[in-house]
């Protein structure tokens, strides 16, 4: 069985599972946010359900519109808070401790290798970087899980992606996943699990691995997954709040497809509007002016992302026609960036640094675009109007390309400002 199939089988009480099979699987951990959880809570309460399956295995993370941007969003967070208090949930995060869910939960050791996780947020697939089977679902799935601790799943086929070689200088996990989505398309892995392997993956940091798995959904996948190794173990050690089991694909693993790539050829890339698969090499876009740069999100708001941005911004100034907004994904990342002097570099360069929030990524707040404006963002989606006005544009890149471009005001290869 593949890694994904082994995790599903172990959670469905089966010796073996096969692609296409339906199972009701036990969930190790589930989560919702200030947009999706209010709908789940209403479904749970309307159904007359009284008790959650396990108060220690549910996280409510109000990260999207927080700190609450208006009365309606404050009401949504209040719905989460009231539910968390009523059911004595162990993991509800107030402003001051809240971070972006897909950075926060791994950081806190709440999601672990070998876990089966569902989240009412499409980027739940991020946790696959830990060697977990993590699936984005909707609010009603979450409501059902609150009650039963289970989820219905169709066992997906797995595509294996082997990345040989090593990423070149200035390329990152973001460039790798943008390259891959452009190769297979936005529905290239529809309903499937994507297993990422090979020397180029093994040599990547956890932060890069989170970025890669985060965007598996952008290829339509059910899950992205990376076999756990020493780097995974080192990350989890000291964080894990539960025991866990690591799995890997075994000798009988059957893949619906195996694709091999040479990572050495994956130079920095940018996805242009309005699909994450519209990917171009950075060099092809050097005439594209930008009005705003956002460095942050569940895709690229981690400490290594901030470090690379700071390495380029140190001693430089943001272009006068550009607004640079930097959003550390969690309070711990923010504090680490402060200790390392990164925040001072950002402020001296003329960047704005925000408290953790999903904010602009989904057009919520903290950096909305006017008509005709263009943003280069380290986020994950560039659908029309995603960050504001329906006739505004979002380009997607790595933190290195984003920081370099903030300095020049045009889409720029990091080597040109380093």
């Amino acid at each position: 069985m593949t890694l994904a199939e082994r995790i599903i089988a172990s959670h469905a009480g089966q010796e073996e599972v096969h692609p296409g099979q339906f199972v009701y699987a036990e969930v190790d951990f589930c989560l919702g946010n200030d947009i999706t959880a209010p709908v789940a809570i209403k479904e749970f309460e309307d159904a007359g359900l009284q008790k959650v399956f396990d108060r220690n295995r549910i996280a409510l993370v109000p990260d999207h519109f927080t700190p609450s941007k208006d009365i309606a969003s404050a009401q949504q967070v209040k719905t989460l808070r009231d539910f968390a208090r009523k059911h004595q949930l162990a993991y509800f995060f107030e402003v001051g401790s809240v971070g972006i869910e897909h950075a926060l939960l791994p950081e806190m050791g709440l999601v672990l290798p070998g876990d089966l996780i569902i989240g009412a947020d499409s980027h739940t697939c991020t946790y696959g970087a830990l060697g977990a089977f993590a699936v984005g679902v909707g609010s009603t799935d979450l409501a059902a899980c609150f009650a039963t601790g289970k989820v219905w799943l169709k066992v997906p086929e797995t595509i294996k992606f082997v990345f040989n070689g090593k990423l070149p200088l200035w390329s990152s996990g973001k460039d790798l996943i943008l390259f891959l989505i452009s190769d297979i398309g936005v529905d290239g892995a529809l309903y499937k699990a994507m297993e990422f392997t090979g020397p180029a993956i093994s040599s990547l940091s956890m932060d890069d691995r989170f970025t890669i798995c985060n965007m598996a959904i952008e290829a339509g996948a059910k899950a992205g997954i990376i076999p756990p190794d020493k780097i995974t173990q080192k990350y989890v050690k000291g964080r894990a709040r539960r025991s866990y089991v690591t799995y890997s694909s075994n000798g009988t693993a059957s893949y619906c497809q195996i694709k091999e790539y040479d990572a050495n050829t994956i130079t920095p890339r940018v996805a242009i509007p309005s699909l994450p698969s519209n990917v171009q090499p950075v060099e092809a876009l050097s005439q594209i002016n930008i009005d705003q740069v956002v460095i942050g999100s569940c895709t690229n708001g981690r400490i290594t992302d901030l470090r690379v941005a700071a390495s380029l911004l140190k001693g430089k100034k943001v272009h006068p026609y550009v607004r640079l907004i930097i959003i550390p994904a969690t309070q711990a990342i923010y504090l680490e960036a402060l200790k390392e002097g990164l925040i001072e570099i950002f402020l001296k360069a003329g960047a704005s640094v925000s408290t953790p929030t999903c904010g602009p990524c989904l057009g919520g707040h903290m950096g909305i675009l006017a008509e005709g404006e263009r943003c280069l963002a380290t986020t994950n989606r560039n659908f029309p109007g995603r960050m504001g006005h329906p006739r505004s544009e979002v380009y997607l890149s790595s933190p290195a390309v984003a920081a370099a471009s903030a300095i020049t005001g045009r889409i720029t290869h990091p080597a040109n400002v380093a």
Binding site: F22, I35, T36, P38, V39, K42, E43, D46, A47, G48, L49, H64, F65, D70, A72, S73, Q75, Q76, G119, A120, D121, S122, T124, G136, V137, G138, S139, T140, D141, A143, A144, A147, T148, W152, K154, V186, D187, L190, Y191, I217, G220, K222, L275, L362, G363, G364, R381, F383, P384, G385, R386, P390
Partner: protein, 161 residues
């Protein structure tokens, strides 16, 4: 009979309901903004009983259940697409929004065509063109959820309430 509204490939949940409106989950409020940037006349002119016809990967992107809720709020009777993004597929099944996967129907049906959907017979009948198309039948596990009236009803039944 249902009037068809035709859309292309990769209609995302951002198209269906923009992020800025996710401060509520009220179906009627969401319905007033459904697909407004893609087809400004849609939320104004859509009638209860109308059908959406779209290409590949319908409902891609965010997991927001507000997208199928907005379609239900508009009175949309069902969505016919060449293929569905998987979270949208789950959400539609879970909340009882009928969805039909048919590449042929998705390609052949035009804007404004009148269709009937024969659920039991597994057919979409295009009255305008005088043609019919079959759609992918649901596996029995999904039919059980549909027949229970959605996932929460199904869960209650299984929990013995």
């Amino acid at each position: 009979m249902s009037r068809c509204w035709k859309f292309g490939d990769n209609i995302s949940t951002d198209h269906l309901i923009a992020g800025k409106y996710l401060v509520t989950s009220d179906p009627k409020t969401l319905a007033t903004h459904c697909l407004e940037d893609t087809r400004p006349e849609f939320p104004k002119e859509v009638k209860p009983g109308d059908v959406i016809v779209a290409g590949d990967n319908f409902g891609c992107g965010s997991s927001r259940e507000h997208a199928p809720i907005a379609l239900k709020g508009c009175g949309i009777k069902g969505v016919i697409a060449a293929s569905f993004a998987r979270i949208f597929f789950r959400n539609a099944i879970n909340i009882g929004l009928p969805i039909f996967e048919s590449k042929e129907a998705a390609r052949d049906i035009q804007e404004g065509d009148e269709v009937d959907i024969d659920m039991a017979g597994g057919k979409i009948i295009n009255r305008t063109k005088g043609k019919s198309y079959s759609f992918e039948p649901f596996p029995k596990e999904i039919l059980e959820i549909i027949e229970a009236g959605g996932l929460m009803q199904f869960v209650k039944k299984r929990m013995g309430k």
